[in-house]
Symmetry: C3
Subunit: 159 residues, 3 copies
């Protein structure tokens, strides 16, 4: 019997298009029976934020970061041709036309396929993000857990 | 006999300098007898565009994207110090001085070394890019083909 | 006895946050007894620059690049929310509050853990960077050396 293959992705970027690439690869790998893990660190954590404002007591700096960063996948900008937010609208329009799945649905699909979504606790602290602000169906870990997965990984990507 | 090693690169970025890094690694790996594949997705597809305008019937949005994206490797910007297009000119000047190969030649060299260049069909649809607009010596595939290669890969990079 | 695992990172980016991610992974991997190598290419070389101005005879273009690029890890900007240099100040403030190690200390720690820091000689030429401008405790090599390490690597990342 063939050994289960492993794909691990560090999602560092908070760009809609890069996160899309990450989740398309993740969903593809899960469809081919890979064990797939996405570690969300720095701006990549924003893909996991709940769209609704959460009332959480925060320090000044943390509250400011929280306000400036997008609340959830649907509000993220593009890495290229963002044009002050028009770019994402145009891309989403074309995606609809071509029946491509929008990012929030790609994330839901990943969870349905048992892709493990992990929030990096250290960068959550730095950006002042609280567990209550992120999706309820994710796990939390640090760099040690990432390395444990990645060192047996067949496909390891930093996006 | 040693097994053939495999290098696969996802070229997501449309930046001249990042594409240069991708192609330098690809050419190096090919020189060491790796089987090398570069999957061009999103903005990375622009590196494969023919410099000449192609007359293709397109939807409005797709025509607009086509106009705004650089036609070919030589017209791409830098990820850093781009300065509205002056940066690439300066870098190319320094590259000439140091006899470094410009990106279009790095791409030709990769093909001569049998590096497989693949255009991601799904993102071509999104950005409205037609096969006629891209180099004639490339292949087309989707995420499944990428994963097939990458899961046996020794070096897998996302650039 | 288990074989030593290998982690190799190409640090292409000159952003403070991306370099932080690279060095946190590198230090983590070294703590788990991986052999770790970071290849600094293009803007990633700036993380290795000495903060003090070095007097080196340079061509005009090279002198200009040298002036425009940050001298050392502490002067690098953020990939996101940089706000003309205010972003890094805010992040460093939050890092201090959470006792997170600033980038220059992460680099020192990597060296203490015998992480190999390599400057890519080809891109040093392009950006006009001289060995005298970079940390004294690093090595120099090209793409061949990178591929030699990476093709046996368990974790290979491009950051």
């Amino acid at each position: 019997m063939a050994e289960t293959k492993k794909t691990t992705i560090v999602l560092f970027s908070g760009d809609y298009d890069k996160a899309m690439a990450a989740y398309i690869i993740a969903n593809g790998a899960a469809a081919y029976d890979h064990e797939v893990t996405i570690f969300h660190t720095f701006w990549g954590l924003n893909a996991l934020r709940k769209p609704e404002k959460q009332s959480i007591a925060k320090g000044k700096l943390e509250a400011m970061f929280g306000k400036m960063m997008p609340r959830g996948a649907d509000r993220m900008g593009l890495s290229n041709m963002n044009f002050l937010g028009i770019g994402p609208k145009l891309i989403k329009k074309v995606m609809k036309k071509h029946n491509a799945m929008p990012l929030p649905e790609l994330i839901d699909m990943a969870r349905e396929q048992d892709v493990r979504l992990i929030g990096c606790t250290m960068t959550m602290d730095l950006l002042g993000l609280d567990e209550k602000e992120l999706r309820d169906d994710i796990e939390y870990a640090g760099v040690a857990a990432y390395l444990g997965e990645a060192s047996d990984g067949n496909v390891n990507l930093f996006i």
